[in-house]
């Protein structure tokens, strides 16, 4: 029966079921990413975000929630300019984080 509306898809994240392998591996390589406070300074300063949708904050959030498919496209838009690293108030090397993430995606288990 058509009521003119339907159930909205759930945005709940079941952390017991999602795949956090990539985030855990990245945290092993650079434990600093666990100190991220999600302030968004990295995303605000990103040159490519305005036209490509790239956002380091979103990348980290997606990794913490195991949403790999959201990360891949964003990572491909990063130019590795390093401006995000310069503004991070927690001193996280976000440029290295992105590079590591790209390498792990390509199954290159090599530390920077």
């Amino acid at each position: 029966m058509d009521f003119g509306f339907r159930l909205s898809p759930s945005s709940a994240v079941d952390l017991d079921k999602v795949n956090l392998a990539l985030y855990d591996r990245l945290a092993e390589l650079d434990p600093g990413i666990r100190t991220c406070i999600g302030c968004g300074s990295c995303s605000a300063t990103c040159t490519s975000s305005a036209y490509s949708g790239m956002s380091v904050r979103k990348v980290l959030l997606a990794l913490q929630r195991g949403r790999m498919q959201d990360v891949e496209k964003m990572l491909s838009n990063c130019m590795l300019c390093g401006k995000c690293t310069m503004v991070c108030p927690r001193g996280i090397n976000t440029r290295r984080l992105i590079l590591n993430a790209c390498r792990l995606y390509d199954n290159v288990e090599e530390e920077v």
Partner: protein
């Protein structure tokens, strides 16, 4: 922690509820959704328990729905509420009890706002005088009608003809209690048990022999949320919140839901039909739903009132399985009989949800 310390902390979560002499204000929507609930609040408190509850035919809406839907400013709601206070003062009462949770939240918010900004109260007094030449006193005590039933729960238990117990097995019935968001989420100290441990309904269930279910989404909104439901484009979101609650309570196999808000029982009841039609999912045994009752209906059943006099036939989810478990007698032939045995129209049955 030492026992006395615990008692002291818990005393901060208690609310002073006078025993008698209340001015009662009704809800706009409850009389349409559950027409017998407000009547039986008065029957239970006045006729059965002998309390003085006064209501005036001159009272109006409190403006709460319009205020929460952003269609009137708070000052307008304040002037409407000031008029209700004037009616209470003129009738010689100092304690105000509301039938509606949103009215309760609205009154509480306005009283708190006036306490913080006395100049605003002075302006509203002036506006009310200009509009209708009335003056008022701010209520000494403000309570929701469920606070009173909670206070009288022991007396109701003493007079109980039926208990929230499975007649066959002797086990307590599993009851989900759902408290309206505007009861204590806005002003925690106004509700019994505060926002963290609201026990206004669980206290009733315990006193009448039932077992309260503690499930993950127990304090989640029912989904009504005013602007979620009133805008048709948002109704899917409204229903999704209800769906989330049902998915969360389903593993505990509840026998009934009890609520103290006008909207919650409506949405917890009617959305079961819509979810069943759209998703093919039902939450009760064998394709039935979980009956969602108001606290007056539950108190009425415990006190032995005829289920059809309580208006249980206007619920989408049939109450028969619950009545059978409690051992409450009912006559299926008279389910759709109105006042003076006038035949009401019999509704069509849903495709998926079993209703009787």
């Amino acid at each position: 922690m030492i026992y006395q310390g615990k008692q002291k902390i818990w005393s901060d979560y208690q609310k002073e509820i006078p025993d008698n002499h209340w001015f009662y204000v009704r809800s706009c929507i409850r009389q349409n959704f559950w027409p017998a609930s407000e009547k039986y609040f008065l029957v239970i408190c006045r006729d059965m328990l002998g309390r003085d509850i006064f209501e005036s035919e001159h009272h109006t809406t409190c403006g709460g729905i319009a205020y929460h839907c952003d269609t009137i400013p708070q000052e307008t709601a304040m002037t409407i509420v000031a008029r209700q206070f004037a009616l209470m003062t003129e009738a010689g009462y100092e304690n105000l009890v509301t039938s509606c949770i949103t009215s309760f939240g609205n009154y509480a918010e306005i009283i708190e706002t006036w306490r913080e900004f006395p100049e605003l109260e002075a302006r509203i007094r002036e506006d009310l005088w200009k509009a209708c030449r009335r003056e008022f006193k701010v209520p000494k005590y403000l309570a929701h009608a469920s606070d009173l039933i909670y206070k009288y729960r022991g007396e109701i238990a003493e007079r109980a003809k039926f208990h929230l117990v499975d007649k066959q097995t002797g086990e307590p019935l599993k009851i989900v209690e759902h408290i309206g968001c505007h009861y204590s989420k806005m002003f925690p100290h106004k509700g019994v048990g505060g926002a963290e441990y609201p026990c206004v309904l669980s206290g009733m269930v315990d006193a009448w022999g039932g077992e309260v279910i503690d499930y993950p989404e127990r304090r989640h909104c029912c989904g009504y949320g005013f602007r979620q439901y009133h805008v048709k484009a948002n109704r899917g979101y409204s229903m999704s919140n209800t769906y989330k609650k049902f998915e969360s309570m389903e593993p505990y196999h509840p026998d009934a839901i009890v609520t103290n808000c006008p909207g919650c029982p409506f949405f917890l009841d009617r959305w079961q039909y819509v979810i069943a039609e759209q998703e093919g999912k039902t939450y009760g045994p064998d394709g039935h739903g979980i009956p969602a009752l108001t606290y007056e209906e539950l108190a009425g059943l415990v006190l032995g009132v005829d289920p059809w006099d309580l208006g249980l036939q206007v619920h989408q989810v049939g109450p028969e399985l619950l009545l059978d478990k409690m051992g409450v007698p009912y006559d299926p032939a008279h389910k759709y009989d109105g006042l003076d045995e006038k035949a009401l129209k019999k509704p069509g049955l849903p495709n998926v949800l079993k209703c009787c």
